[in-house]
């Protein structure tokens, strides 16, 4: 019981930290969600108009608008603000206090990261409600409450995978000062490979099959499939097995890098 309360406090503290910079928080929401939507919307409008068709690869233009609006938000639930904070702790020496206090460092960092996902979920819900109430009837019909909830569950599952991925990269800080490049690199990989920019059905079948074996589609493409009603039946036992495989593999690498890195650490202060 005490453990749960302690975890809850960590999440609340992180929520308070993020919300203390409210203007930045909302500008970020507007910049990321709004500009990605605009870029995607106009690209697909041009494609559908030039082809003169109503459906491409099973997607009507309305489905594409729905996808373009919701995918950046769903992705935000999975990746939060992209950085998990480990690099900063190592670089500034504030990791010392976590090593002294009897708390599992990885769990504390994850709970802080989870709080970012929870805030993003609020923004995602706002976009979903706007779609539901304001968009044209064909787009609004795509917004099913139960599918959306399951999509959020999938996005939070992706949130754990992303934490491991980014955490492993940030722990390179034990050996090398500048690791922001690695996180930006991960951003580009996710942009192309997750289905954030384009639904995976639009990729050549061999590429889509290959990507579905990677952890990236769990950060946008698969939750969006669920939100759209899983038209290709991709949410299968095979996918769950892929997820569990990545979960175990990334957790093992995370712990290995942490144990090796700790021995390298020589922080001062704080």
């Amino acid at each position: 019981m005490i453990q749960i309360w302690w975890g809850f406090r960590v999440v609340l503290t992180e929520l308070a930290v993020v919300m203390s910079y409210r203007t930045d928080f909302w500008l970020n929401f507007l910049g990321r969600g709004g500009s990605m939507f605009l870029a995607s919307y106009f690209v697909w409008e041009a494609v559908y108009q030039s082809r003169g068709v109503t459906t491409i690869n099973g997607y009507s233009f309305s489905m594409m608008v729905f996808y373009s609006a919701l995918a950046p938000m769903i992705n935000r639930v999975s990746i939060g603000s992209e950085f998990v904070g480990i690099q900063l702790d190592i670089f500034s020496g504030s990791l010392n206090r976590y090593l002294v206090f009897p708390v599992p460092y990885g769990l504390v960092k994850y709970l802080g990261f989870l709080a970012q996902g929870i805030l993003a979920m609020g923004q995602c819900l706002m976009v979903w409600l706007v779609i539901k109430w304001l968009a044209g009837s064909e787009i609004a019909e795509l917004a099913h409450g139960d599918r959306f909830l399951w999509a959020l569950v999938a996005a939070f599952a992706g949130n754990i995978l992303y934490f491991f991925l980014a955490g492993i990269l940030e722990m390179v800080s034990f050996w090398h000062d500048q690791v922001w490049n690695l996180i930006v690199m991960l951003r580009f990989l996710i942009y192309f490979s997750s289905g954030l920019a384009i639904p995976l059905e639009f990729y050549p079948p061999w590429a889509a099959d290959l990507l579905l074996k990677s952890p990236f589609p769990f950060l946008a493409g698969i939750p969006m499939q669920i939100a759209l009603g899983d038209p290709k039946g991709w949410l299968s036992m095979e996918l769950i097995a892929v997820y569990l495989g990545w979960f175990i593999a990334l957790l093992a690498v995370f712990l290995l890098v942490w144990n090796c890195g700790k021995k390298q650490y020589s922080g001062v202060g704080q």
Partner: protein
């Protein structure tokens, strides 16, 4: 002018010393930008699996447009981005005093001081991609539209670099009044995705806004038009008029910002 060139030579010397000290940073930056190029090319490749044209351009033309964006971005990464990144910190810490005292343009010193030589290899890669993309055009070089196409392409890249720099400075200037521009800069950098799309896809007020008030289309689309379009004259006039306008706005904004600036030692 000679004084500025000499000063810039010293900046390059410092940058080289930094590059030698952070060798792994050099490698990761190169890999990072390679991922950026690959991701963008990949996205357009997938789009062109489902369409023959995008915003009035075919695949070969869009590749030239993307390459122009890569070159402008690489120039920005080398000469401007590091300086711009530290701009708010310098203002907030009161370190701007030391820049104001120097007998050179403060804005020049502030934005061009930190050269990032690690991105030189990325510029070379971007230029290589641009040459490859141009050679893939059906009738490339002068034959394509007008005799000075390549010259106009270079001019377009320089103008695109100007707009990216000017826009970066403009979104950073509010730091003189608000002390934090993280949100605004985040908005600006996130919205850069709009300059990674051909302006021909945008319609209505979005298209007008992106080529005037928020000049995202002036960073790569209009510069590429100087080379790719038959009616390139209109794009050139638009770019030159907007350059004059943005120079004036920048100058006024910078002077007002300096007037609002106060620090413990000023």
């Amino acid at each position: 002018m000679l004084r500025y060139l000499r000063l810039y030579f010293y900046f390059v010397q410092f940058a080289f010393a930094r590059l030698v000290s952070f060798r792994l940073d050099f490698v990761t930056r190169v890999v990072m930008d390679t991922c950026f190029y690959a991701a963008n090319f990949g996205i357009f490749k997938v789009i062109f699996l489902h369409s023959d044209e995008l915003g009035g351009w075919n695949e070969a033309q869009v590749m030239v447009f993307m390459s122009v964006y890569f070159v402008v971005d690489a120039i920005n990464m080398i000469f401007i981005s590091s300086g711009m990144w530290n701009f708010p910190k310098i203002v907030n810490k009161g370190e701007l005093d030391y820049y104001l005292l120097r007998p050179v343009s403060t804005l020049f010193f502030l934005t061009f001081r930190e050269i990032n030589l690690a991105s030189v290899l990325n510029l070379m890669m971007a230029l290589g991609i641009l040459v490859w993309a141009v050679l893939r055009l059906p009738n490339h070089l002068g034959v394509y539209h007008h005799e000075s196409s390549v010259g106009f392409l270079v001019l377009g890249i320089l103008l695109g670099s100007f707009f990216l720099w000017a826009f970066q400075v403009l979104v950073t200037l509010p730091v003189f009044w608000t002390h934090s521009v993280e949100g605004l800069r985040g908005l600006f950098y996130n919205a850069l995705i709009l300059s990674e799309r051909p302006d021909g896809i945008f319609t209505g007020w979005t298209r007008k806004t992106l080529s005037t008030v928020l000049p995202y289309s002036l960073i790569a689309s209009f510069p590429a038009r100087l080379f790719l379009d038959r009616d390139w004259q209109g794009s050139l006039i638009h770019l030159l008029v907007m350059m004059v306008l943005f120079s004036v706005i920048l100058r006024i904004g910078w002077q007002k910002g300096l007037r609002a600036y106060s620090s413990a030692s000023s």
